[in-house]
Homo-oligomer: 438 residues x 4
C-alpha cells in the first residue's frame, strides 16, 4: 500500500505543486536550483514546501557539474551564516549570559543552509538527493577547500539522520531483489566481484552477507560485510572466493570470517557504521548458528607496501641490510611464485609486517587504516597470513600478506579502552613476538 | 526477516552486552540511568554503545516518576553546556573570526546531552524512549521551568529526526492491525471514538483515515486525519458519526470532509505534521477518487465560548445589549433544543462567531488556534454551521457551531502569503459580511 | 504489488469482459446465473471464461434464496450426468476392458457440473463464491435430499482444493488485521467471544491463537484454535477467560491448553482440518517455547446431558436408583451453587461421564463427537474436571464437566491405531477406573 | 511470519515425525519410497500423514532414476484400480442404477494413487515434488507407454490444483528476487537469455514481464511473457533484444508487443495457462498505460521450415517450379545476407508462409502450433515480417520470418468462435491475399 501511495504522490502532488507554483508566480518564476531554493526558504516554502523540494530534487538530478558547483557556491555564500548577526549575538551574550542569549547565539551560529537541507528533505527522494549532493561536494573539497563550511553543515545533519537507531540490518542473499544485488557488485571495495556468478558464490549456503539500510534509501545499502563460514581461522582469501570451492554445511562451521567490508555511499563519508555492523552480525550469526565459536576478519594491510617502500630504518629483529635484501628480492614481481625466493623472505617479511602494524604510528595511532578501524572496535590483532591474497592488488598493497583481527565479545570493551586510553595495539603473543626486539 | 533479526538482537546482543559490561566492570558498575548514561558518554560508550543504550532504555521504562525527574535534573545539570568552554570559545572567536573558531564556538554551544540522546538512540526502541522522555519532560515544564533548556535540546533533535522526508503516510482501514487501530481510539482528540463499532463506522467505505508514521515507531501513528466522503459541504458532525447513517458509494461523492485531526504524541509537541498531512491526503484522495471536487474541514471553534464569556465589547453588527441578551438566553443550557430560543439567537450568534474568527486577534493572529492552523496552511474560512456539533463538548466549546475551512490547492500559496505577510483572515464573502459593520 | 494487480483486474478485465460479451451477443444475451453458466460451458467459456466466471460470481452474490435454489436445481438437472452416455460407456467397458474404455467410463461418470465449478473458479473470488454456494446447499440438504448429488460433487472438488498442502498456518494476534479478528468473534463456536476486550484477552501474552488459511480466501480463517499457556493441566475454563486473570510470563508456562477449536466455513463441511491444525500447533509452540512440556485440550462433552436425560440403564458402578437420585438432585438448575448437593452428586456424576465417554458407543465408536475427534487424532482421554465450565451452556451440555484430551506426539500413532483398529478408547487409568465395574 | 512458521515446521514436525515413526515401528520400518507410501495409505497415514509425506518428498528428491522408475511402476501396479472391484461395481450399477451405485462405481474407477498423491501433498514442498514426479514421468512416457495410466491420474489432479483461480499474476522486474530472475534465464524458450545483462535489458523501463505463480510453488514461475512497449507494430525481434537499443519512455508507446512466451514446468505439461496470461496482461497494461492502443505478438513460425522441406505441392500463387527455385536459392545458408538473393525470394517466401499458416491443416486445425495457440485464444493473424528473426534458430525454423498475432479484446470471442466452430483462420486481408489463389 505504501508503494501505491508514494507512487500516486509522485504524480499528483508533483503536478498539483507545479501547477499552483506556476499559476501563483506567473512566468517570471525561477527554475534554477538556486531560485527554487530561495522560494523554499520563504513563506512559499511553508505553503508549498513539498512541491518546491521536489523541484529542487529534480533539478539537482538533471544539473550538469558546473550548475552543481554553482549551487555549492550558493550554499556557501548565500545561505550562509550572517556574520553581523553572529557578532551581535556574541555581544548580547557577553553582556548578559542568559539562557535566551545563549540560545540566540547558538541559533545565529547555525547556517540557514541547514534549514534549507531540512526542507529539501521534505520531498520524496530528498534524502537520496542530499546524500548525492554531499558526494559531489566531497569530490570537490580538495579543489575548493572553502566548501568545507558547507560540508561541515551537511555532515552534521547526516550524522544526526543516519543515527544507528534508524538503520535496519538486512541479510542479503539470493532472495534479495536484483536491484540491491547489483549494488554489491558496484560497491565492493576489497575483493572485486567480477559478475553474477561470483556474487552468487558469495551468497551461497556457507556464506553470509549483511548490510545496513536507511528507510529513506530503501534500495541503497550503506555498508555491507561478507562472511565465510569455515572450519578454523581462514588464512587466505582466494580459496574463499573460488567458484569451484567446496560448499560447507553451515552447521558444521566453527568460525565466521569477515573477509570484506565495504562502505557504499561516498556522500556519507565520515559517518561510521562498520563498528555497529560487525558487532550486530556477530550477534545475528551467534543466534542463527550456535556452532560458531570464533569471529574474525581476514583483512588487507593497505598501507604496508607504501610504508615499506619508504622505510629506511631497521626493526627490532632486522638490520637495514637484511631489510634491503628483502627489497631487492622483491624487485622481481613474480617472486611469490618462486619457492626459493619466497621461502627466503617469508620470515623477514612477516617480521616487517608485524613491526609495521604494532610499532609504526602517527599521532600515537597505528599507521594502517584497517588496523585503526578494527583495533578501535575492540578487536585483537591475531595472526599474519603468508600469501593470503595473491591477487595483483593484494601483492601490490601488502606483498600478499593478510591479517586476522579477532572479535571476542567479552574482550571488546577492554581492548577498546586499552587502545583508546593506553594507545595500546592489542595483539596476540605471536605477533607481538614478531614485532619486538631480538 | 527484519522482524526476526530484530528479535534475535533483543536476546543476543542484549545478553552479550550485559554480560560483557558486568564482567568488565565487576560488581561496582552502576545500574542507575545516570550511571549508565555516564558510561555511555565515555569510551565504554564507543565500544559497547548499543548495549549501554539498551540498558538506559530499559531502566527508563521501569523508572518511577521521581527517578525520571532525577534523570531530567541530571540532563540539565550534568550533561550540560560547559560555561567556561563557551566563554573561552567566545573569546577565541572574538580575537580571530576564523572558520575554525566559529565552528568551535558552535560546538561549545551544543550541550553534550544532545550527543547523549543520539547515543541512547542506538538502542532498538531508543527513539520511542526518547519521545517518551520528552512526554514526561513536557508534563513537568510548568512546574520546573528550568527544564526548558533540556526541552529545547530534545525538541531540536526531534525536529531533525521527524523531518517530513522520513515520515510515511499510511491509509488506516479495517485491514490495519488491531494494535494500530486501538491507538486511534486512544488518541482521537476531537470527536471521541466510543469503541470498536464507532471506529468501524469511521473506516467504512465512505470514510477514509490517513496517518503519518515514522519508521522507528512502527505501530505508533504520529497524527491522523479522519475524512468523510459526502455530497456537498457537510454542515454537522453528528450525521457523519451516526452508526446507522447511510453508506455512500464513494464514487458518488463530490466532497471530502476532514472532520477530525489528532496529534498523537505528546513527546513530539511543537513539531508540526498537520500541514503536510492534509495536503498529502488531498493528493491521495484526488488520485483515488477523481470524482472528488471539494476538500474542506468541518472544524470546531475551541476558543469561542471562552472568549465570549469574557467579551464585554460590541461588534460591528451587534450592540452590547444585544450581546448581553444572547448571553442571557444561553444561560439555559438546553436552549438549543428550544426552537423559539434557538431561532432568536441564531443570527446574532453566527455574527459573533464570524466576528470572533475574523476580527479578534492577539499579536496580529486570530485568537482561535484551529483557525490559525488552517489559515496558516492556506485554507479559506468558508462557512459557519449552525448547530453543527450538539455534543456536550461541542455546546460547551462553541455553542454548537462548527466551521468549514476550504482547501483549494490552487489558492493555498496565495492564501498562505496573504495570511503571513498581510495578516489577512482569508474568508468567504458571506463570513466577511457577517463579521463587518452594519 | 499483487494487490494492485488484482485490483486493476477487477476493474479492467471485468469491464472489458462485459463489454465484449454484450457486444458479441447483442441484447439477447442471458444475465441469469443459469444463462451465463450455459455460456461458460461452451466455446464462449473458453474465449471469455474469466469474464463469464466473474459474472456468475457477481450474480450469485446478488441472488435471492429462490434464485439460488433454482441454480441448485439447474446444477442437479441440467449440468448433470448423461445417463445414456454412462450406459453406453458401461457397455463399451464390459465388451472390452481396455484402458481407454475405463477412462471413458470414468469420464462419463463425472458430472459436467464439476467442470462448471472449475470454470467458475477462474474468477477472482471464485473459490469464495463456490464455498458460499456449498454453504447454501448444505443448509437445504435436509429439505431437498435429492441435492445430495450436487453436494457430493462440490465436496469432491473442495476436498481436492483444500488439501492440507495448500493451507497456510498463521498466528493470530493483536497485530492481525481487524478484518480477520472480527471473524474470530463471529466464528467462535465453543466459548463465545463477547467483544473486543474479550478477544484481546485471548490474544494476550500468555495466549496463542493459530488458524489455517487458504490463499484463495485470504481474510477468511478456515479453522482456528485458542491456546492458553499455563502451569499444570487447566481444569476449568472460566479462569482462562477471565479478563482480570493474571497474565503469565509465557516462558514460565509448562502446559499448553487447547481450550477452543472452531471450524469457520459451513461451506467446507465434511472437510477436516482440525487434526492437522492441532499437531502443527504443538510443533509451533514446542519450537517457540521449549519450556512447554504438556499439550492438552480442555474440552466440552457436548452429548452428555442429552444422553443422560434418556439413559435408563445402570453403569458398572451405579445402580439405577443411584442414577435416578442424581437426576432428581439436578432438577434444581442451581444445584452447582449449593455445596451440599454438589458434593453429594460429584462422585456419581463423574462416574457417569466416564461411563458415557468410555463405554457408550454407536457403531463401535464413542457417542460423543468431541471424543471421537480427539481419540481419532491419537489423543488420550486424560482427566474429568468437575465444574470446569459453569456457563449456562456448559451446565446444559455436560453438567459443568469438562475433559482433558492429552496429546503426546510419541503416542499419537499408537493411540490412533488402537482407536481405529481395536476400537479402543485410550484413556488414563483414573478414567478407566471410574468407568469400569465395581 | 509465515516464513518463520514454515521454517520451524521443517525442523520440528519433521523431527517429531521421524522420531515417532521410528519409535512406533522399531527397526523394521521401511525407508523406501514405496514402503513409506504403503504406510501413508493406511491408518498410519491418518495419524502421521504429514511426517510420512515429508519422508516421501525427501526420498523422492534423493532417489536415483532407477528408484524413481521403480516408484512409477509401483504407482502403476500397486496403487492402482482394483479390476475386480470395478467389475463388481459395474454389475451392481447395472442391476440397480441408483445414485449410490453410480457413486460407488465412480469411486471404484478412481485409482488409489490419486489419494496417495493428495496425501503426499500434505508435506511442505509436496506440490513441488509431485510436479517433479510428473516431469520425470513425462520424460519416460515414450519409452514406457503403459505409464500413461499414471500420467492421466497425475494430470487430472494437477489440472484441478492449478486452476486459474489459484494462480497469482506477478510483474517481474529488476526488484524481483534473483532466485526468481535466474529462473527466467533458465526457462526462456523462444529467444535465449544470454545472461544478466540480457535479462536486465528485458526488464528495463520500456519492457514488461509478467508471470503466473502458484502459492505452493512460490519461487517457480509457471509461465511468463515478455513484452516490449514500442511505437507501431514491431516487425523484427533483434532490435527489441539489442542491449544498446534506445529506451522508450513507456508513456510514449502505443503498442505492446508480446515477443516471448515460455512455459516453465514440464511437470505441468498439458495444463494451459497462456491464454489466461495474455489476456490478463492486456488488462494490466491497459490499466497502467492508457496510451497503449495495440496488443500484438511477434511470434515464431516453428513448423514452417520443416513443413517446407517436405512440401512437394504448389500453392495458389506459386508453381512447383517457382517453389523449387526458392528452395534452391536457400541452399546457401547465408542467402539472407545477400541482397540480390534475398530480394528475389522475399515475395514467394512470404506467400509460402501465408499459405502454410492459412491453408495447411491437420485434423482441420493449422499445422503450426504457435498459430493454433493464438488463433485458439481469439487473436488474428495480422502480418508477416520479412527477416524478423535472423538468429541461427530463427533462420532454421522459419527462414527468418516472424508473424504478428493481434489481440483485440472486443473481437476475441468472435474470433475464437470462428476458429472453433467454423475452423476458420482469422487473418488480415493482406495475409489472406498472400495465401489465396492468383
Amino acid at each position: 500500500m505504501k508503494q501505491t501511495l508514494v507512487g500516486q504522490f509522485f504524480n499528483s502532488i508533483a503536478d498539483a505543486g507545479r501547477e499552483l507554483l506556476d499559476r501563483g508566480a506567473g512566468k517570471s518564476r525561477s527554475h534554477t536550483i538556486e531560485g527554487v531554493c530561495r522560494d523554499l526558504m520563504t513563506q512559499k516554502g511553508e505553503a508549498s514546501g513539498m512541491a518546491l523540494a521536489r523541484e529542487v530534487v529534480g533539478l539537482w538530478h538533471k544539473a550538469e557539474d558546473d550548475q552543481r558547483l554553482a549551487f555549492m557556491e550558493f550554499l556557501l555564500k548565500e545561505v550562509s551564516l550572517d556574520s553581523e548577526k553572529v557578532d551581535e549575538a556574541v555581544k548580547a551574550y557577553e553582556s548578559d549570559k542568559s539562557f535566551e542569549n545563549r540560545r540566540a547565539l547558538a541559533a545565529a551560529l547555525e547556517a540557514p543552509r541547514q534549514e534549507l537541507m531540512r526542507r529539501i528533505n521534505f520531498a520524496p527522494g530528498g534524502t537520496a538527493a542530499i546524500v548525492d549532493m554531499r558526494k559531489f561536494l566531497v569530490s570537490y573539497l580538495r579543489k575548493k577547500p572553502e566548501l568545507r563550511a558547507v560540508d561541515a553543515d551537511m555532515q552534521h545533519l547526516l550524522v544526526s539522520w543516519f543515527n544507528r537507531g534508524f538503520l535496519e540490518i538486512e541479510e542479503i542473499n539470493w532472495k534479495t531483489p536484483a536491484v540491491v544485488l547489483e549494488k554489491l557488485i558496484k560497491y565492493e571495495a576489497v575483493h572485486e566481484i567480477t559478475g553474477w556468478d561470483d556474487l552468487r558464490r558469495r551468497l551461497d549456503q556457507d556464506r553470509r552477507c549483511f548490510a545496513f539500510f536507511h528507510p529513506a534509501l530503501p534500495e541503497e545499502p550503506l555498508i555491507f560485510v561478507e562472511v565465510a563460514l569455515v572450519k578454523g581461522l581462514a588464512a587466505a582469501v582466494q580459496p574463499l572466493l573460488d567458484l569451484e570451492g567446496e560448499r560447507l554445511d553451515p552447521t558444521k562451521a566453527d568460525t565466521a570470517i569477515f573477509y570484506s567490508i565495504s562502505n557504499c555511499q561516498e556522500g556519507l563519508k565520515g559517518i561510521s557504521f562498520g563498528n555497529f555492523l560487525i558487532k550486530q552480525v556477530v550477534s545475528e550469526l551467534s543466534a542463527e548458528l550456535p556452532n560458531l565459536k570464533h569471529f574474525s576478519t581476514l583483512s588487507p594491510i593497505p598501507g604496508f607496501m607504501k610504508w615499506f617502500a619508504e622505510f629506511e630504518g631497521r626493526t627490532g629483529r632486522l638490520s637495514k641490510d637484511e631489510i634491503d635484501n628483502v627489497k631487492k628480492e622483491m624487485l622481481d614481481k613474480d617472486w611469490f611464485n618462486k619457492e626459493e625466493v619466497s621461502s627466503k623472505i617469508k620470515e623477514p617479511l612477516e617480521q616487517l609486517v608485524a613491526h609495521y602494524l604494532v610499532n609504526e604510528k602517527s599521532r600515537n595511532r597505528p599507521l594502517d587504516p584497517v588496523s585503526r578501524f578494527h583495533l578501535g572496535n575492540g578487536a585483537r590483532l591475531e595472526r599474519i597470513n603468508w600469501l593470503g591474497d595473491i591477487s595483483e592488488n593484494g601483492m601490490k598493497q601488502s606483498a600478499g600478506l593478510l591479517v586476522n583481527y579477532y572479535y571476542s565479545l567479552k574482550d571488546i570493551e577492554r581492548n577498546h579502552e586499552a587502545y583508546i586510553n593506553d594507545r595500546q595495539v592489542v595483539a596476540s603473543s605471536s605477533i607481538l613476538s614478531l614485532a619486538k626486539d631480538n
